[in-house]
């Protein structure tokens, strides 16, 4: 771990490539005609704006600065088959259970190809959680106030597309000064085998003032991606797309731990945006673990909108084969006296490619900001690559902002030390890779998730590389 990249100034986005195919608009009109009676009136302008922004932006190309290192042409080329109807049949509970996190005591909401499946779910009494398509009937006022108010359709084509086409997702409401004891496990199962089929889950979490909750947002495929010894089975072979958007509103003095785990099949494309709006004195710890998918692009955007906020962004990405995993994070310090700490570790093997872009904005009024960012990357093969770029834009003058990026191989001195105590070279190497991942895993407060990820690391290390 040697080289430190210096801050590079943000560049203006290049004008997006035009043309979102007519097929999307046609599909949208058809969708709206069918849906209009079920969707509430207030939703229509939001959707309409979504498709309009998508039509204007089109799929991003590498000419767009935000997408410079991630070529999503393989996604743009796919036929567009949004899965708009609830699946006629659901997988058996037994199958779904293979994706559970052992030992995790939780409420569970299962989504199949983006649609909520209450039959496979179990929510503890007293928790206000349901499918979004139900919530827009029963919780219309809350939804109207929050849904789509935080994300940026006008900037991100995938968010726009999701906004046009979402049909379901998770809605969780934690009333003021209450807490959800056990975490809520949102399990998004993708099992379609039709190339180009896409799901557009849309999640909304409202943690009111003084509330506490822990949420796991977990994406997986059926058949499950297997990391077992000897071989890495692909999960499903179909090139499908998950295009998820999650908005979390964190009220004053509320506390939220959110753990996103992306473990989709190696032929899947995963695009996701997480938008978090924090109010004063709130605390958020957000983990993003990315282990699956052929291309994964994850945007995480925190707005620190009140004084005395603490935020932690904690990320781990593992790439092998020809996987591409791209995290774009934005921490927007919009108010004074907030602290944000960001830790991202990437381990890349084979011909895989990693991208980390971490923006920190410190607005004019955000004096006494304490922002810290580290991006550490381990390249295990000559052909693996990483593009890591911190981007700090600071408009206040009394702030503490630090960032560091490292890219490197395993530390030879550490290997030598371990070997000098009798540990074999290969075992020493594995210990260090594992430790590099554990550094991030250990920040997750839920032991069963830590254990599951530790197990996954061991299994991946038992195979060749990562």
């Amino acid at each position: 771990m040697i080289q430190t990249e210096k801050m590079s100034p943000a560049r203006k986005p290049v004008a997006p490539a035009p043309t979102a195919g007519q097929s999307f608009l046609a599909k949208f009109e058809e969708f709206e005609r069918g849906r209009v009676r079920q969707s509430p009136d207030w939703l229509y302008p939001i959707r309409k704006a979504g498709i309009a922004h998508f039509a204007e932006l089109g799929f991003p190309t590498v000419q767009n600065e935000e997408w410079r290192y991630t070529n999503i042409a393989p996604i743009a080329k796919l036929p567009f088959h949004p899965i708009l109807e609830r699946p006629a049949s659901l997988p058996a509970l037994k199958e779904i259970e293979t994706l559970f996190i052992p030992g995790l005591k939780c409420s569970r909401m299962v989504f199949v190809d983006g649609h909520y499946a209450p039959e496979l779910s179990a929510i503890a009494d007293g928790i206000k959680a349901c499918g979004l398509s139900e919530a827009w009937k029963t919780e219309a006022r809350l939804l109207e106030r929050h849904l789509g108010r935080y994300v940026h359709c006008e900037e991100n084509a995938f968010v726009a597309l999701n906004t046009a086409f979402f049909t379901d997702g998770a809605f969780i409401h934690i009333p003021a000064n209450s807490q959800i004891e056990d975490p809520v496990h949102l399990l998004f199962v993708s099992r379609s085998s039709e190339p180009g089929s896409s799901s557009h889950p849309r999640n909304l979490v409202i943690a009111e003032r003084g509330s506490r909750c822990r949420i796991i947002e977990h994406y997986a495929s059926l058949p499950a991606l297997s990391e077992s010894k000897g071989s890495r089975s692909n999960g499903s072979d179909a090139p499908t797309l998950t295009n998820a958007v999650t908005e979390i509103v964190v009220g004053e003095d509320a506390s939220v731990e959110h753990c996103k785990w992306q473990a989709e099949s190696l032929s899947a494309f995963h695009i996701a945006t997480l938008q978090v709006q924090q109010e004063g004195k709130s605390r958020v710890i957000q983990h993003s673990i990315s282990t699956g998918a052929k291309i994964a692009r994850i945007d995480i955007h925190l707005v620190l909108g009140g004084e005395g906020i603490e935020s932690i962004l904690n990320g781990l990405y593992l790439g092998g084969g020809d996987q591409l995993v791209d995290h774009h994070t934005v921490v927007d310090h919009a108010a004074p006296r907030c602290a944000s700490h960001e830790f991202y570790n990437g381990i890349l093997d084979g011909k895989s490619k990693g991208v980390f872009n971490g923006k920190i904005f410190v607005r004019k009024d955000a004096q006494k900001t304490d922002a810290k960012q580290t991006s550490r990357n381990l390249l295990l093969s000559d052909e693996a690559t990483i593009d890591t770029k911190p981007q700090l834009e600071i408009f206040a003058d009394d702030v503490k902002c630090t960032h560091g990026a490292t890219v490197g191989q395993l530390n030879e001195e550490e290997i030598f030390y371990l070997r000098s105590r009798g540990i074999g070279a290969e075992n020493a190497r594995r210990m260090l890779i594992h430790a590099f991942a554990s550094d991030v895993i250990n920040r997750i407060t839920l032991a069963p998730i830590r254990e599951e990820l530790e197990k996954l690391m061991s299994e991946r290390l038992d195979r060749e590389g990562v």
Binding site: G422, A425, A435
Partner: protein, 257 residues
């Protein structure tokens, strides 16, 4: 019986000769001190014995009847060679207990003994920690990470206590230790001494040798041992300084040859 036999050992790195022909025999039950000014080659000798491959090496080293220079680093450790590092390496994320148990079991496996489980290991470790007066919380921390200079050095000797080597090499273990820590470390080392093992203490100063009494003292200068003697040599050296030996006619002759 000799544990270590070094014959005419020469070593160079990037064309620069550092060791120019070392001869040294260490028998079971003996403690040897190797003293010398900075840059004389003390640490290089330690590194070569433990298996560092950055040097081109000539000569012969027999350890326990086997050719040492043929062995990999980990093989040497499993055969019972231990180096207490001058600068112990911090290994973030690798838990101390996990690391040491893995090392301990590798050595046991090599000896054909069954591996120990976590409980058995913990019992052993607790007992050894007492010798070094180490705080047990260190075990839950990553290897050497955030340890003070003194804790790192004590931790090296603690590892030595657990791994029970046949030949322990202590490279400047006294540097960075205050007098109290020095006494603890020295008493630890003394307790580990037996008739069937041996110790090589590498040090710049005589201080440590007030507490670990060596059977032999060797002075290394410019890649050669220019003087060997008993424990009184260290005291003389302390009193008169290295210049005294370096300027000694016998030494001049050696260096010139």
């Amino acid at each position: 019986m000799s544990i270590l036999e070094i014959k005419n050992l020469k070593a160079s790195v990037d064309g620069k000769q550092i060791l120019k022909g070392i001869n040294l025999t260490v028998n079971a039950g003996e403690t040897h001190a190797i003293m010398g000014p900075n840059g004389s080659g003390k640490s290089t000798l330690a590194q070569i014995l433990v298996g560092r491959k950055d040097y081109s090496v000539e000569g012969r080293v027999r350890y326990d009847g086997k050719d040492l220079l043929d062995m990999d680093v980990e093989e040497r450790a499993r055969e019972g060679i231990f180096l207490a590092f001058q600068y112990p390496v911090e290994i973030p994320g690798v838990n101390s207990t996990y690391f040491l148990k893995a090392a301990y079991n590798e050595i046991r496996k090599h000896r054909g003994q069954p591996e120990v489980d976590a409980m058995e290991f913990l019992t052993l470790v607790k007992e050894k920690m007492k010798i070094l007066e180490l705080d047990q919380s260190l075990l839950n921390r990553p290897v050497n990470e955030g340890f003070s200079g003194g804790e790192k050095k004590r931790n090296e000797i603690f590892q030595m206590a657990v791994l029970d080597p046949k030949l322990a090499i202590l490279d400047e273990t006294d540097s960075g230790l205050d007098i109290d820590a020095l006494k603890i470390v020295a008493s630890g080392v003394n307790k580990l001494k037996r008739a069937d093992n041996a110790q090589i203490i590498i040090t710049h100063y005589q201080r440590l040798l007030n507490f670990i009494i060596p059977d032999f003292v060797h002075v290394l200068f410019d890649g050669r041992i220019i003087r060997s003697g008993g424990k009184e040599l260290a005291l003389e050296l302390e009193e008169k300084g290295y210049d005294w030996i370096v300027k000694h006619p016998q030494a001049k002759e050696l260096v010139a040859s």
